[in-house]
């Protein structure tokens, strides 16, 4: 049979190609063969022509190559090369590499173009990630599916644009690209590695897997626990792919000693023997693909590439295609497939999970009666049912005897055995249910027997009422009954059915216990840091490194793994191939085996590193010391390092800088001297300049007509701005803040009018809360703030609108002032021009001071901080919360804050010293008496009655 069609093929040899992969484009005109040095473009219309070449420069072989399956993008193909995918354009007989997709960190195992979106490409890699790329943005993948285990195959579903499947060793995962975090379904498909994965061309739910375990299995992922069908082979199966015509499947085996290099064509309806063999290749078939046919052509062409360096094209004519659909007419078969599928999606919702083979068989019976040559019509139906029954259930055996119209179902579950005889009446399945009878050696209790019997009868009646076969649903019911019963009886771990279903436990949310540390759930968790450095405080660098005696158990050329799941390899003692390759066994000492930890089963990050027991450096010195008895230190030391010399700010300067409002010259000179003592000669010069610029000789005249103010001179404001720019770039906030403060002080506003009308700067807080009052005002040092601000918050001259800032708050108040006298306006402008600090940047300068204030605070220099913050122009945060009104002690009018609005005197008198309180005060909420905080503190340390003598027990009355 085989010889008949095999002779039809085209054979072309490409001796030097050394190609590892092949792909046929969607137009059927070209095949690309990818060798190490060149990509060969074979014209399939004239395959014997010398192929065109595209050079490539890589030391890696091409892993997979694939043309874009969309006609609009038919000129594009992707080739994977180690960690990279290159996109090539093939146009007008020449091709070029276009872009690369880089993102995987290990070799790419497979790639697949989307069937729906010509821009989408999926890649899988042993780095455990599956990336979906959009060729319009090649910088990084658009979707990353984290699979934990390295994938060997990845394939898009052909019917559902969101779904894809990947194979991981013996498992298959189904993904929805919209839910990248986790697979939507797990299928524990094979016990050995899956080499090939292929979606059904027409059915969204069905795919085929080919595996090292000598089988091809067919799956519906909605029923992940049980394959639909199995094709058992004698040898491992390399690839199994559906044919473009119905019900066909082509397999390539992993060649064994006998060197069987043929491709086999199967009918999925009858897996007992292949329909056809494509014989001809002398070596392993590396790739086979179907060449798309011109419209109207009934033939199909299979293009194969083998290690024997020949490309063959096999014609599969309609006759051969028909063999795949048995002897039936194609139309009928197609109709049937549809019926089967629709039935499946329906039945899958039913609890018993019926396979839907029954109805399909019914159609077979109706349309194809007489195909079997023995027995009556009815017996034949039963025989048909038996032959189609799909019951590959673990621990369950069904012996069917069509002649006697009976079958024996035997099942073993745990310690129980069940033997059930099913007898089918002659009318079955036409509204005649079979009988069920338990026979010895059935060991289940009789109550259980009755229960099962009832369930089976119900199930069978339901089916036969619709003239449907019921054997398979009944057996499945039986199994599920027994399983659920066993689960109740035994703990899940010991139940045998758990073993048969390894997927379920792994999907359970892991318990709070950390025994799973480093397991595969940790694939999303970053690999822990074992060294780190952090700037702390103002001038410290805190860092820790792993001890020098701990070495990475991978060579330094390997990057540190990114995810914690990498640890599982070290935990279980399984060596990754990477390690096998690069490290000899003897040097691998997993920490878990060391004496201090041998009792603990937990894996730790330290497992990644191994301890060097003898430091080479001290080897000679310390020989003879029993190292094995010494506990091993896993934690390195934490080093605190003084790095303040690297910073542009100096604590010494912070201490020695002064800000004397009354003598700016002296301030500048002293600061210059201070700068010299810490070796900042540049700062000494800056202070000298500041001294010169603030000299009395240069103080501006109040009359705008006499002279241009010094600020307008190039050495005036411009020079200062240059200085500020320079120190901004150096991040020297200390110098910035000090300069701003000095020049602010140099040009204070004359009248001391308070723009912001401060009233809340002095907080009256209750006695004990004077420490926590800071929380209310938003800063630890509100005490110093409040004093300073009230006195000094006058620097901004409110009488003068600022012409530079449209949105300045002053505009609201002064924007509508009509300037009656132009001289007044000139005077105002002059006042602005007099200043060395550009008033437009006042808020910026304030920020320097605030930031420097923070640093001073960390240094513990609170007075210095207060001194600097005096010069900020913006108001402090207004007080929020409870505020106490005060009756002025002089005029009895109601006042807020410390100063009476009416008599302008301080409102609150201390009950002890009878002096008005200017600073912090506390008072009793009950009697209203109080005074200086320090006096109150002293008083109540010894007393509990009010110092005013009102008899109030302040400490008890007030809620403090």
């Amino acid at each position: 049979m085989a010889a008949r069609w095999s002779s039809e093929n085209v054979v072309v040899e490409f001796r030097d190609a050394q190609a590892t992969a092949m792909s046929v484009d969607c137009l059927g005109s070209h095949a690309v063969l990818s060798g190490r040095r060149f990509l060969y473009m074979v014209n399939l219309e004239a395959p014997s022509e010398a192929p065109r070449k595209i050079g490539r420069h890589s030391k890696w072989d091409v892993g997979t190559v694939q043309w874009n399956p969309h006609r609009s993008e038919a000129h594009v193909f992707a080739a994977s090369s180690n960690q990279r995918v290159d996109l090539y354009f093939w146009r007008d007989g020449c091709g070029e590499a276009h872009t690369s997709l880089q993102g995987h960190t290990r070799v790419i195992s497979d790639l697949d173009w989307s069937w729906f979106d010509p821009e989408l490409l999926v890649t899988s890699s042993v780095d455990t990630y599956i990336y979906i790329w959009d060729t319009r943005d090649t910088r990084k993948p658009t979707v990353a599916l984290s699979a934990v285990a390295g994938a060997a195959q990845v394939k898009w579903n052909r019917r559902n644009q969101h779904l894809l499947a990947s194979s991981h060793d013996g498992d298959v995962r189904i993904w929805d690209k919209r839910k990248p975090n986790t697979a939507v379904e797990y299928v524990a498909a094979h016990l050995s590695k899956i080499h090939g994965l292929d979606w059904h061309p027409d059915n969204e739910f069905i795919f085929a897997t080919s595996s090292q375990d000598n089988s091809v299995r067919f799956w519906d992922y909605r029923q992940p626990r049980k394959y639909l069908n199995i094709l058992s082979c004698q040898v491992p199966v390399w690839k199994a792919r559906y044919t473009p015509f119905s019900n066909g499947l082509v397999t390539v085996m992993v060649p064994q000693l006998r060197r069987e290099n043929s491709l086999l064509l199967w009918s999925t309806l009858d897996l007992n023997s292949p329909v056809h063999a494509f014989v001809g290749h002398d070596d392993v078939v590396l790739e086979f693909q179907w060449r798309p046919q011109k419209q109207g052509s009934k033939d199909s062409q299979l293009v194969t590439w083998s290690r024997d360096q020949t490309l063959r094209i096999w014609r599969v004519d309609p006759q051969l295609q028909k063999l795949c659909v048995s002897d039936m007419v194609e139309e009928l078969l197609e109709g049937m497939t549809l019926t089967v599928e629709s039935e499946k999606s329906l039945t899958s919702q039913e609890p018993e999970g019926q396979q839907g083979v029954g109805p399909a068989a019914d159609i077979l019976q109706d349309k194809d009666a007489g195909r079997l040559d023995s027995g009556s019509g009815l017996a034949q139906t039963l025989q048909q049912e038996f032959s189609l029954v799909n019951l590959q259930i673990r621990n369950v055996n069904v012996e069917m005897d069509a002649m006697n119209r009976s079958c024996v179902v035997s099942a073993h579950f745990g310690s129980h055995q069940v033997h059930l005889v099913v007898k089918f009446p002659v009318q079955y399945p036409n509204n005649a249910a079979p009988s069920f009878q338990f026979v010895s050696p059935t060991t289940i209790p009789s109550a259980m027997k009755i229960k099962i019997q009832k369930i089976l009868t119900d199930t069978s009646l339901q089916k036969v009422k619709r003239n449907q076969n019921c054997l398979e649903p009944c057996v499945r019911q039986l199994v599920s009954c027994l399983e659920s019963d066993m689960t109740q009886e035994d703990s899940p771990a010991s139940g045998p059915f758990v073993l048969s279903n390894p997927v379920t436990p792994s999907l359970q949310a892991f318990s709070r216990v950390t025994s799973t540390y480093g397991s595969y759930q940790d694939a999303n968790i970053p690999f822990p840091r074992t060294s780190g450095a952090r700037f702390c405080g103002t001038g410290c660098l805190v860092y820790f490194t792993r001890p020098i005696t701990m070495h990475r158990s991978v060579p330094p050329t390997e990057p540190t793994p990114r995810s914690l799941s990498a640890l599982s390899a070290y935990h279980s003692g399984v060596l990754t191939p990477m390690k096998m390759r690069s490290e000899s066994q003897s040097t691998l000492r997993l920490y878990s085996g060391s004496p201090t930890r041998s009792d603990k089963e937990t894996v730790s990050i330290s497992s990644f590193y191994y301890k060097e027991r003898k430091s080479r450096r001290f080897k000679t010195k310390r020989e003879g010391v029993d190292y094995s008895s010494r506990p091993i230190k896993l934690a390195g030391k934490v080093i605190i390092q003084q790095i303040s010399c690297l910073l542009p700010v100096h604590k010494t300067l912070g201490e020695s800088y002064i800000l004397n409002m009354n003598d700016i010259q002296e301030t500048c000179q002293k600061n210059a001297a201070a700068a010299l003592t810490v070796g900042r000669r540049d700062l000494a010069k800056v202070w000298a300049l500041a001294s010169a610029a603030t000299s009395q000789d240069l103080s501006p005249d109040s009359d705008p007509d006499t002279e241009t103010p010094w600020a307008r001179h190039p050495f005036g404001r411009h020079l200062l701005e240059m200085l500020l720019d320079h120190y901004s770039q150096m991040s020297d906030v200390q110098t910035l803040a000090m300069l701003c403060s000095v020049f602010q002080a140099q040009a204070p506003s004359p009248d001391g009018y308070s723009l912001y009308g401060h009233h809340s700067s002095r907080l009256h807080s209750r006695y004990p809360s004077y420490t926590s009052s800071s929380v209310n005002s938003g800063s630890c040092s509100s005490t110093s703030d409040s004093i300073t601000v009230s006195t000094w918050n006058t620097v901004r001259d409110p009488e003068h609108p600022n012409p530079w800032g449209e949105s300045s708050p002053d505009d609201y108040r002064y924007g509508n002032h009509g300037y009656t006298d132009p001289r007044e306006r000139e005077q105002e402008l002059h006042d602005m021009n007099k200043r060395l600090l550009d008033p437009a940047n006042t808020l910026q300068f304030d920020d320097f001071k605030k930031c420097y204030g923070e640093i001073l605070y960390r240094w513990g220099l609170r007075d210095k901080r207060a001194n600097v913050l005096k010069f900020t122009s913006s108001p402090p945060e207004p007080h929020k919360g409870i505020e106490f009104g005060v009756y002025c002690c002089h005029c009895r009018s109601q006042a807020r804050g410390t100063q009476c609005a009416v008599c302008k005197r301080l409102t609150f008198q201390c009950a002890i010293c009878h002096v008005a309180v200017r600073g912090l005060s506390n008072f009793c909420l009950s009697c209203g008496h109080g005074g200086h905080t320090s006096h109150m503190m002293d008083w109540f340390r010894r007393q509990d009655e009010c110092p005013a003598g009102c008899g109030c027990h302040c400490l008890l009355q007030s809620t403090f």
């Binding site: 968790i525 970053p526 690999f527 840091r529 450095a533 952090r534 702390c536 030391k637 630890c780 300045s808």
Partner: protein, 320 residues
């Protein structure tokens, strides 16, 4: 001179994952795979164990000190999916709050600027970022940004409290209108900026440059200049410095600091924001400084006694 002022032997039973000093530089907190957090008093070169905090059921990844105006408060996050906030009361450390709202390892915690009160950002491998705020009635309010980073969030870092945009336009006498912002890095190779608007957290920017997981992000402290700076480091070995001069905060430009040979785990800014400490899988710490012309140079192996960090790493190794 750069000098070692203290070497703390933590006596952790397993590897250390983070070490951080408090605001004043007087206490050191460390955390380890041995599931404990330890606090040492390190004043004047001493190392007195103040507290050994046990409560986590898995390795503890990171610690964070709150601003001292709130008291002595430390947050820690762990593989066990918990965030624990510890507080010292009368000299004794105790749990103040335990947050269990994440479904996977919590990888990063960071306290916001004190201007916002006590607010903690937590980034987890479940992809979410939680924001825990202490309300007036001493309850912790939780806001969660779900799916902030696909696969997982590895790092969070707060922006300094500055008024958005230019520094003008502040009505007098009112509280400055600070906008809460922070940056996060995750397994989607992205750096994301988040902003609070009307009490809701919104993704403000998405910065793409890394080709692998982003392992740490650090928002540089402000010295009052209108520029924002962020450092990010990644599994791909690259460290990027992101800057934004745009008052609206929309235009960020990336500059590659360096490509290291191994993963970079951590970046940390000096208080003046001009030195960056970088550490990673190669067990080395390097310091980087921006020169006047805007170039970044490694200063830790430059002379003038500044080579100390690498040098000291060696001497430390000799000790052990």
């Amino acid at each position: 001179m750069v000098s070692v002022i203290n070497t703390v032997d933590t006596s952790h039973e397993d590897m250390i994952h983070d070490a951080q000093m408090d605001y004043y530089g007087t206490r050191l907190a460390t955390c380890s795979s041995d599931r404990t957090v330890k606090i040492f008093d390190v004043r004047n070169g001493g190392q007195i164990l103040v507290a050994d905090l046990r409560g986590h059921e898995g390795p503890v990844w990171q610690v964070a000190w709150a601003h001292p105006m709130f008291g002595n408060i430390l947050a820690s996050c762990s593989y066990d999916r918990k965030v624990i906030i510890w507080k010292e009361e009368n000299g004794a450390w105790d749990k103040m709050y335990e947050y269990t709202g994440h479904e996977s390892s919590v990888n990063s915690v960071c306290w916001g600027p004190y201007e916002f009160g006590l607010i903690l950002a937590c980034g987890s491998s479940d992809g979410a970022i939680s924001l825990l705020t202490l309300t007036g009635d001493q309850q912790w309010d939780v806001k969660k940004i779900s799916n902030a980073h696909t696969i997982g969030c590895n790092a969070v870092s707060w922006a300094p409290a500055v008024v958005p945009g230019s520094l003008i336009d502040q009505p007098s006498g009112q509280k400055p209108n600070y906008v809460k912002r922070f940056v996060s890095g995750g397994c989607d190779n992205l750096v994301k900026l988040w902003k609070e608007e009307d009490g809701q957290w919104k993704e403000d920017q998405k910065l793409e440059a890394h080709s692998d997981w982003v392992r740490d992000v650090g928002w540089a402290p402000s010295i009052g200049l209108p520029t924002s700076t962020i450092a990010s480091c990644s599994q791909d070995g690259r460290v990027f410095i992101w800057t934004c001069d745009d008052p609206a905060g929309n235009t960020w430009t990336a500059k590659l600091l360096h490509k290291f040979n191994d993963v970079v785990w951590h970046v940390s800014w000096s208080i003046t924001g001009n030195i960056l400490a970088v550490s990673g899988g190669d067990n080395k710490v390097t310091l980087w400084k921006e020169s006047m012309d805007g170039q970044w140079a490694c200063i830790s192996d430059v002379s003038k006694g500044q080579g100390a960090v690498s040098a000291i790493t060696d001497s430390q190794q000799n000790e052990q």
